[in-house]
């Protein structure tokens, strides 16, 4: 993670407004997590970064009422999640899936297997898109390792047991469909 020590001055004027909230520390702590959440929904790195920026602009706009926020982490995740979903509605489905799948595969796979792996990723992404909305949302949020069941439930406004059931159904449905596709 990049250091942001050089930006100490950038927020000095904000300290007058609310000295208790260290915005630089919040950006440092949450920007990667928010990026991953937006990226899993939008499947575009540049758009995910735009969403993260929008989240922190919102944070800045609400900095005077931050004391009323009970759980800052869940609050930020929920904003990022909703902003990403809003953006996704404006996109065509599967618009950039092929490129996205290749970029994901290229990070983890050796060069000779990237194309095959990218094709597999592409088909999984397509099947994820075909899942029922609630199952899809739980599956995508569960992909982010830092998020526990309680936090996913908090973001989606569901109970923890419902989140567990949805996750189980999503995984089995996805597995079945991928097997059917193979045959």
């Amino acid at each position: 993670m990049a250091s942001i020590e050089g930006c100490g001055l950038a927020l000095s004027f904000m300290e007058d407004a609310r000295p208790a909230v260290d915005l630089a520390a919040i950006v440092d702590a949450y920007s990667t997590l928010l990026f991953r959440i937006a990226n899993s929904v939008l499947r575009s790195r540049s758009e995910a970064e735009d969403v993260v920026q929008d989240v922190f602009i919102r944070l800045l706009e609400h900095r005077h009422s931050l004391s009323t926020v009970r759980d800052m982490r869940v609050w930020l995740i929920r904003i990022a999640w909703n902003l990403a979903l809003d953006r996704k509605r404006r996109k065509r489905p599967e618009q950039l899936d092929e490129t996205f799948a290749r970029s994901l595969a290229s990070v983890t796979m050796p060069a000779d297997t990237v194309i095959v792996e990218a094709q597999r990723y592409h088909s999984v992404l397509r099947e994820i898109e075909r899942l029922p909305k609630a199952e899809r949302h739980v599956l995508l949020l569960s992909a982010i390792e830092e998020l526990g069941t309680a936090e996913i439930a908090g973001v989606l406004g569901r109970s923890e047991s419902a989140v567990r059931a949805l996750l189980s159904r999503a995984r089995s449905r996805l597995r079945e469909r991928l097997e059917e596709e193979k045959r």
Binding site: I4, L11, V27, D28, S40, L174
Partner: protein, 186 residues
């Protein structure tokens, strides 16, 4: 089945390990600083906001001027019309030379009906005609039709002659003929 599971796991892991581009924190802080500076900057340092404010102010002024002009036009339409020929006359050079001292402008005529009441009650003006009674309306209708039987009621002599004639006709009609009665009995 295991192959599908492995693919799903690998994809989810790839999503989980995605990293933003380097220096994102720096860019985010710069964006926040820019937004904050924009929010607190004076109006003349924000051309867009300044232009918007100017356009809004101009629009409000224009609306106010139009509203005032309309209000003036409504309150004194007769006054302005009566002054128009006077202005034309005074533009003539000889008229300017013989110009009478300027009299104070008459106040605009009130359109309220209260101002007309004293004029109608003044003695010099005839009283407004009263509406016709039912009898008068009936007579008027009869005169317009010119039916001799109907108009006879207006003339007592003609009416008496007409009633005598009717009585005679009645008696003639119901009078008993003795010869006819005898033949019927036989």
């Amino acid at each position: 089945m295991k192959d599908a599971d492995r693919t799903i796991e690998r994809l989810l892991a790839a999503l989980r390990d995605a990293e933003p581009s380097t220096g994102i924190e720096h860019r985010l802080l710069q964006a926040m600083e820019a937004r904050e500076a924009e929010a607190f900057a004076p109006l003349w340092r924000r051309p867009t906001a300044l232009a918007t404010s100017l356009v809004t102010a101009l629009a409000i002024t224009a609306v106010l001027i139009i509203a005032m002009a309309l209000h003036q036009h409504r309150t004194a339409p007769a006054d302005t019309r009566s002054h128009a020929p006077a202005v034309q006359r005074t533009t003539q050079p000889e008229a300017v030379a013989q110009q009478a001292p300027i009299t104070p402008r008459r106040p605009a005529q009130r359109r309220h009906p209260v101002s007309a009441v004293p004029e109608t009650q003044a003695a010099s003006l005839p009283a407004p005609p009263l509406p016709l009674t039912e009898q008068e309306k009936l007579l008027l209708r009869l005169a317009h039709r010119r039916n001799p039987e109907d108009t006879a009621i207006l003339n007592p002599a003609v009416q008496a002659a007409q009633s005598a004639k009717t009585t005679e006709q009645f008696q003639q009609f119901f009078a008993i003929n003795p010869t006819e009665m005898r033949s019927q009995l036989e």
